[in-house]
């Protein structure tokens, strides 16, 4: 039904019609008409963040945890520029979010007006698509199209810039219709290529599934199909950081995460395999290590919805463009119809080789003395929370890698981390978004003290909306990953990689009215974690850990998968000049 209304009302109406229940935002001059409409309705909850970057990360957390697009509303100029980091983060990790920005009135655009910025110009390279809407009548169509573009194909962030006069003016509202957009990415894979892959599955001697965030983005159905295929073939499976949870950590065929800080067995198996089945991953440089030594003996199949991912870094022998869920369904169908064949004896031998690598026990550590090891803190966190309805966010750095190594994920959409962009300050606002999507769940942000401080202002948001997010800070008073690289690469010259003048986190929590817990003794750790879980409200958990612990195992920059370092003793002079220029 079409109706006359103002542009501002159209925004709220379109959000309601798109099924949006939560908006993360921050008001300002150029979005006041929209805020006025938000004030006069009850369908959409608005979460007032304390900084626009927090709004975007919260929307990302909400999107990852619920599978629905996240929505942000911010003002022009600084509101929009503060959103840029979150947009880039969402673009790199393929997270569907819709960001609405106010803009100065159309007749003032280009005049360097107060709080004017070229928002579509600034955000063009960090959005999947963006629009500046200059006529109110175009607004409904663009709003609905934005949700289509954000979620269709490879998901990503979109932005709509709405000048203030467009918000005030009357126009005709159109409800959403089935998309007539020319943007309709291909979801079905090529059957010939799928049959070729099935034939390779039937004969492979040393196969491996290498899965990524594409499985999660394809929806829970894709994870179910993946589990069926993995368990039916009996092939080992590893996953990127972004894909954790698509196959259960307790699953029989799970080998753990791969990559720079991935598990030894996963990386060795990637190096020695004869058939690599990449499902929704993109051969990121954290995964491949040295490219000319990457899995030299394998045939590589690559399933990706984005044609530009294929052959970008690693040449695919069997490229399949399509949605992971659709392609997995077809693979299973063809494989079953051809008699469910695998080379069982060879695969059994392959598994015995993998068991040898597993026996190295690359994540082993010893909790001795009176200082908490970060690995121990996460192992205890895992033990005490794994039976809960649990969602984990992280910031970026050593704690993030340890969390990926020591926590287990049984289901998709339970793990929110900044993979591609590596955004410190992501985790805390993301946990707020997750908690909004799952009010009853236990939401924990595993953080480092330095990352956490980057968006600490959001403690106000958590308090205001009574979101009981648990901030589990592994406090080593260092920028741990920077410090680790300085130790390995820069002659132990620790340039600006320590955290001085840290706040008293317990007092900081209390200043916001939240609960603070300090724990420094391994003997107190379990009780303290239980206290955190049982507290009904936001908790800042300051866990003082070993200051100089390094994150292992590690593939040094410029090295191959089979050149992993397992511990401190092996680190001397391992990264050559060529490797040291890499990030």
């Amino acid at each position: 039904m079409t109706r006359q209304m103002t542009g501002a009302k159209m925004v709220v109406q379109a959000l309601i019609d798109q099924g949006v229940d939560t908006v993360f935002g921050y008001p300002g001059g150029a979005v006041l008409p929209i805020y006025d409409e938000i004030f006069q309705q009850n369908s959409i909850k608005h979460i007032l963040v304390r900084h626009e970057q927090g709004a975007v990360h919260a929307a990302e957390g909400y999107a990852r945890a619920t599978g629905k697009p996240g929505v942000c509303l911010v003002t022009s100029g600084p509101g929009a520029t503060n959103a840029v980091t979150g947009l880039t983060d969402a673009l790199m990790d393929s997270i569907p979010i819709v960001v609405l920005t106010g803009q100065v009135p159309t007749f003032m655009i280009g005049s360097d007006a107060f709080q004017e910025a070229d928002t579509v110009g600034i955000t063009r390279p960090c959005t999947k698509h963006n629009w500046l809407v200059k006529e109110t009548d175009r607004l409904p169509g663009v709003l609905h199209e934005a949700f289509h573009v954000a979620t269709a194909g490879r998901p990503g962030p979109v932005l709509i810039d709405i000048p203030k006069d467009v918000q005030f003016a009357q126009g005709t509202y159109q409800p959403p219709k089935p998309s007539t957009s020319h943007y309709q990415p291909q979801v079905k894979g090529d059957m010939e290529a799928i049959t070729e892959l099935v034939a390779a599955i039937e004969t492979a001697k040393r196969p491996i599934f290498y899965t990524g965030g594409g499985v999660i983005n394809s929806g829970p159905g894709a994870s179910q199909l993946l589990r069926e295929l993995v368990d039916a073939t009996g092939f080992p499976i590893t996953s990127t950081l972004m894909g954790l949870g698509c196959y259960p950590a307790s699953g029989k065929h799970w080998m753990g995460m791969l990559g720079m800080h991935g598990l030894y067995e996963a990386n060795m198996a990637m190096h020695d395999c004869d058939l690599m089945i990449n499902i929704g991953a993109r051969f990121d440089d954290r995964i491949t290590g040295r490219i000319d030594a990457f899995s030299p003996k394998s045939k590589k199949a690559h399933i990706d919805i984005d044609p530009s991912s294929i052959n970008k870094v690693i040449k695919a022998d069997i490229p399949i463009v399509g949605d992971v869920g659709h392609v997995l369904e077809d693979i299973l169908k063809v494989w079953k119809s051809r008699g469910r064949k695998t080379n069982q004896s060879a695969v059994a031998q392959w598994w015995s080789k993998i068991e040898e690598w597993k026996a190295v026990d690359c994540l082993k550590f010893q909790q001795t003395g009176k200082t908490i090891k970060p690995q121990h803190a996460l192992a205890r966190l895992e033990a005490l929370t794994k039976d809960h309805d649990r969602y984990i966010c992280t910031e970026v750095g050593q704690h993030q890698m340890w969390a990926a190594q020591y926590l287990g994920f049984e289901d998709p959409n339970r793990w929110m981390t900044s993979g591609g962009l590596g955004t410190m300050g992501y985790g805390f606002p993301a946990s707020i978004g997750v908690q909004m999507g799952h009010p009853e769940a236990l939401v924990i942000n595993v953080a480092g003290e330095a990352s956490w401080l980057m968006n600490m202002q959001e403690l106000g948001t958590a308090m205001q909306f009574n979101l009981p997010v648990k901030q589990f800070i592994l406090n080593n008073e260092r920028l741990g990953m920077v410090r680790q690289w300085q130790e390995l690469l820069h002659g132990e010259r620790y340039s600006h990689s320590w955290s001085e003048s840290l706040p008293d986190f317990v007092k900081l929590a209390e200043a916001f009215g939240a609960k603070g817990i300090l724990c420094s003794d391994p003997d107190d750790l379990d009780d303290a974690i239980m206290e955190m879980i049982n507290h009904d409200g936001p908790v800042l958990f300051d866990c003082l850990v070993e200051k100089h612990e390094n994150c292992f195992p590690m593939i040094p920059s410029g090295k191959a998968h089979n050149e992993m370092l397992l511990g401190e003793a092996e680190t001397q002079g391992v990264i050559d000049a060529k490797g040291s220029v890499l990030v």
């Binding site: 063009r124 500046l132 573009v149 440089d285 970008k312 870094v313 410029g558 220029v581 890499l582």
Partner: protein, 186 residues
């Protein structure tokens, strides 16, 4: 004259510099990109080339279908086969892009460019310039007692050849449109 020389993106600090090129031989490809005729669409295409460190040798753009709201961008680019494939895939994922055609591989095509040359001189040089212009079927579109402006249409190498000949004869200024191209036949 290449219309735009966009600097290679700064890749020296990323793992990408260890990327093996599947073939080292650089090829010149002419791409025809049909895009939604909307504000910012050219910036999206050019931003892709600069942001990812691809080359643009020549670029032309104009609306070609008013009712369908479509513009045609013709880009001449240089890269290894892998890079060319990446460019096409990256162009294809821009939401405003409807179609990407690689005219260099999709069968025979015809390429034309229009250029204007201002040549100043007197005496024999002036006569020689006029004579050569005639051979190249260039038209005189402006004339003074001391200068001509020639208009010439042709494939880029013909225009290059004409420029080489005009240079010793008093070439003052050049304007080139960049390449427009269509596939041959139907």
């Amino acid at each position: 004259m290449s219309a735009l020389k966009i600097k290679k993106g700064s890749t020296s600090h990323s793992a990408y510099n260890l990327r093996p090129t599947f073939s080292d031989v650089e090829e010149r490809h002419t791409l025809a990109v049909l895009v939604e005729n909307e504000p910012g669409v050219l910036a999206r295409v050019i931003g892709l080339f600069s942001g990812r460190g691809y080359n643009i040798e020549s670029l032309t753009v104009a609306e070609v279908d008013h009712t369908g709201h479509l513009s045609r961008i013709t880009i001449v680019t240089v890269g290894t086969p892998q890079v060319i494939e990446q460019i096409k895939a990256q162009l294809g994922r821009i939401v405003s892009v409807h179609e990407v055609h690689d005219l260099t591989v999709e069968g025979p095509s015809v390429e034309r460019e229009l250029a204007m040359f201002k040549v100043a001189g007197q005496g024999d040089k002036r006569v020689e310039a006029l004579r050569l212009a005639d051979i190249f079927r260039a038209n005189v579109v402006d004339s003074t007692l001391e200068s001509f402006v020639f208009e010439i249409t042709g494939a880029p190498d013909k225009i290059d050849a004409f420029a080489d000949l005009m240079r010793p004869l008093g070439l003052v200024e050049v304007a080139r449109t960049g390449v427009a191209a269509l596939p041959r036949g139907d």
